[in-house]
Amino acid sequence: MSNLLFELHQHNDVVMTERNGIKIPARYHTPEKEHRAVRQNILLCDYSHFGKAKISGESAWELLNVLVSGDVSSIRDEQAMYTLMLDDQGQIITDLYILCDEESYLLFSEWMTSEALCERITALMAERVGEFDDIEQIIPLNDQGLLHIEGPYSWELLVELYGMDIAGLPFQEHMHVCDELILLRAGKHGEFSYKLFGDYASLADAWQQLVEAGEKFDLCLGGLDYQQQVRLENPCFIPTPLLSLSRCPIELQLQWMVRYDKDEFIGMEALKGRLDAGPHRRAIGMSVDGQPSVTLAFGDEVLLDEEVVGVVIECGYSADIDKTIGRLFIDSEFAWADLSHLTARSSSGDEIALRTAAVPFARNYSFLINPAEHSYIDTRRPRDLLQQFEWQKEREEQEKAASPAAPAEMSIQGMK
């Protein structure tokens, strides 16, 4: 595989990795530096490993509505949705974005190839002959890639390149920019996040422009390795290592991507049955203050009074909140947040007391940014809500100091 974007990474002599059979950068810098950029500035990555497909025709939305657990009829042109594709048993195959774009739908999946996406859709059509008559095309989009721009000030950089409309682009909506490219606002890590979709030549151009314009935003180039830390702080669907434990949306707390009130979707009956029965085990967050000497890893036992009640899914340290955080897969009876009676036993036999926790853990910096009021580069505007409050307080104090006399004193003087 070679394209202009790939050649650009090669030219930069970057450490590469492979996902979905596509070679993309693993890292441009250290994962710590790239993680810091996501949380504080802007990170630019190549996300071309996403499987990409296009489906068009009058029956396209009906076909997709059977294929995924979300309600495709709820999205209109320029809107997108984040949903799940399940198998007959109601187990997750992949998560994916569906974009309603003019007369067609675009599908982006992080965990399936473009061909696999198309095969799945074509197989459904073959199973249900005559139901979805008006399908014009189902095509893999291997000649197109994706850039990922993420971080609290990513909107401001994109405003500079593509215009003011970006600042008002709602979450999970998209727009056409520069004719050749589609910009989708969507992400999984809690920060402002955008995906730029188009042919590789246009994306290679966009990459260069983003790098150049991003300099004053302290933009950092990145690979995929940074995801390990951001996804520890903001958990999302990751097949590995989850697949060996569960692929059930109920157990993994991913039901918010399921619309049970739809007429039907693949896996619906099985899922409803499991919901009625109740999950045996569930995923729940965990935290320990600081960075203890005991290191926990996938599969380590979780104990309650020496009885094994589950296992560790993932665990790691977050310097941002100075906590060791992660997720457990434990008996539903104990899978509630804010409990402090469980321990985990590492492979070396050491035990550590932990507390169950709500996720996500990260207090995303983007929550403090309002594109209408804040700016990273315009020094006349505050950078974030905290600075806005500081400035406001300073202004009030200055006004108070500049006022001629206290009101009480003035009124007494007036009475005289």
């Binding site: 979450f171 919901l275 509630w336 409990l339 996500p360 929550f367």
Partner: protein, 110 residues
């Protein structure tokens, strides 16, 4: 936390979560049942996809259903998920109970 305290904490959490979910469904006219809403479901953005108008409804819900008035000093991150909202309610309930119990303790001056 001993086993009895653990069971009490679980009972309190389950009851509060159920009340939060029922409150959200009623006040925001959601299409879910409580069992279909996961505890870690995000309230805004993805998840329940609430907007700024719904945020005001949340404040009314906290006031009317749980007797909680949100103050300026309260960390707004309680609005992130069903679970964080539940933790906020439980914490408030406990701190209010502590304040009220102190109210009834006669001071030395009395």
């Amino acid at each position: 936390m001993d086993r009895t305290e653990l069971e009490a904490a679980i009972t309190e959490r389950k009851e509060t979560l159920l009340n939060v979910k029922r409150g959200l469904i009623e006040r925001l006219n959601l299409y879910h049942t409580p069992e279909q809403i996961d505890d870690d479901t995000p309230l805004f953005g993805s998840g329940l996809k609430l907007d700024s108008v719904d945020a005001t409804e949340l404040l009314v819900l906290l006031d009317k259903k749980f007797g909680i008035r949100v103050g300026e000093g309260d960390d707004p991150s309680y609005m992130r998920s069903v679970n964080t909202l539940t933790s906020f309610i439980i914490e408030k309930k406990h701190s209010d109970a502590l304040v009220n119990s102190n109210d009834f303790v006669p001071s030395v001056e009395q």
